[in-house]
């Protein structure tokens, strides 16, 4: 077995030990298997673990370790906590990659022989690149399913009347769709508005193209245009 500074937590003692014994920072990443958006943070954590080889990283399945999650007031996944001697020194809720990189750099840089400034500058040095990253990510999200809807809340539990309406309309039309809950990710929430030049949510995309919000979708269902647009595989018989 290869020794690594990343531990998928299986015994909570391991984490406790690391927090109590180590005088240096520990990065704890809370995740859930059903939360698609965790995957991206997971890969960021893996990358960071390589860069900050002297820092201990823990991946904690939030629902498996309820006590720990509760102790750190984890109400949603993904959440990343940076703790030093059991004291929280940094916290990032949601898929805010830029902030995770920044906070890890700020808190763990010194331990790893990277000055805080060097580390944060590295993270900050290329806003253009970061923006490109975000755009790539947004494009990926938009194209994640042939029919994609960006809503507030989940498809089963929309948290805004308009999101609920669009979800209901798609369900009524037997359209199969993927969804993204923009409330879980401020970067996507703000970024997508700019990316698609559309200021409000929900937003419906078909094969990577913005169709519109509730009004447009309602009208296109009424006129039959929407059904024509939907790829055949995305309509349940």
């Amino acid at each position: 077995m290869i020794s690594t500074n990343v531990t998928q937590l299986s015994d909570e003692k391991d984490l406790r030990k690391a927090l109590e014994e180590k005088s240096q920072e520990v990065v704890v990443y809370f995740w859930a298997p059903w939360a698609e958006q965790c995957k991206q943070v997971e890969s960021v954590i893996d990358d960071l673990a390589k860069k900050y080889a002297r820092t201990q990283f823990f991946k904690v399945e939030a629902e498996e370790f309820e006590d720990i999650s509760e102790a750190y007031e984890i109400s949603a996944v993904p959440t990343v906590i940076i703790a030093k001697k059991a004291k929280v020194v940094g916290r990032v809720d949601g898929v805010n990659v830029v902030e995770i990189v920044k906070q890890v750099a700020a808190n763990c840089g010194a331990t790893n022989g990277l000055s805080e400034q060097a580390a944060t500058t590295a993270a900050d040095s290329s806003p253009v690149e970061l923006k490109q990253d975000l755009n790539t990510r947004l494009k990926g999200l938009i194209e994640r399913a042939p029919v994609m809807v960006f809503i507030k809340g989940t498809a089963a539990q929309p948290r805004c009347g308009f999101s609920k309406k669009i979800v209901n309309m798609l369900n009524e039309q037997n359209i199969k769709y993927g969804y993204f809950d923009i409330l879980t990710d401020e970067q996507v929430r703000q970024g997508l508005k700019e990316y698609s030049d559309w200021p409000t949510y929900p937003q419906l995309y078909v094969e990577g193209e913005l169709v519109g919000g509730v009004d447009i979708v309602a009208e296109m269902i009424e006129s039959g245009e929407l059904v024509e647009m939907i790829p055949k595989g995305s309509v349940a018989k």
Partner: protein, 109 residues
């Protein structure tokens, strides 16, 4: 805070030809939710997406604080057709009309 009058005034400058231009505050006065009805032949040959984009552009400043803006943007011909259909539907069977239109108050899940 944005008022219905402000929005109306702003849109009137562009849609001075509009047959109908209505802005309704749906927020109960807090100015973050509006409904818009514009009937103008300026929308001719524009896609639904294009029409709303034009409104978004005209209301760029206001959109920053508005939470919801329901938009019904029609050409004169479309609007007249809709009015006619509405009248016919009301004549024949009110219940079916209700089902046809996407209902706002869908039941809780």
């Amino acid at each position: 805070m944005v008022s219905a009058e402000e929005i109306c005034g702003k849109l009137q400058k562009t849609f001075d030809d509009a047959m109908v231009l209505e802005v309704e505050d749906k927020s109960g006065g807090c100015g973050n939710s509006f409904e818009l009805l514009i009937v103008s032949d300026q929308f001719d040959k524009m896609t639904p997406l294009g029409r709303q984009r034009q409104i978004h552009t005209l209301l760029r400043e206001e959109m920053k604080t508005i939470h919801a803006l329901t938009q019904r943007l029609y050409t004169v011909a479309q609007y007249e057709k809709k009015q006619k259909e509405k009248a016919e539907d009301a004549d024949t069977d009110a219940a079916t009309t209700k089902e046809k239109l996407p209902s706002r108050s869908n039941s809780q899940q």
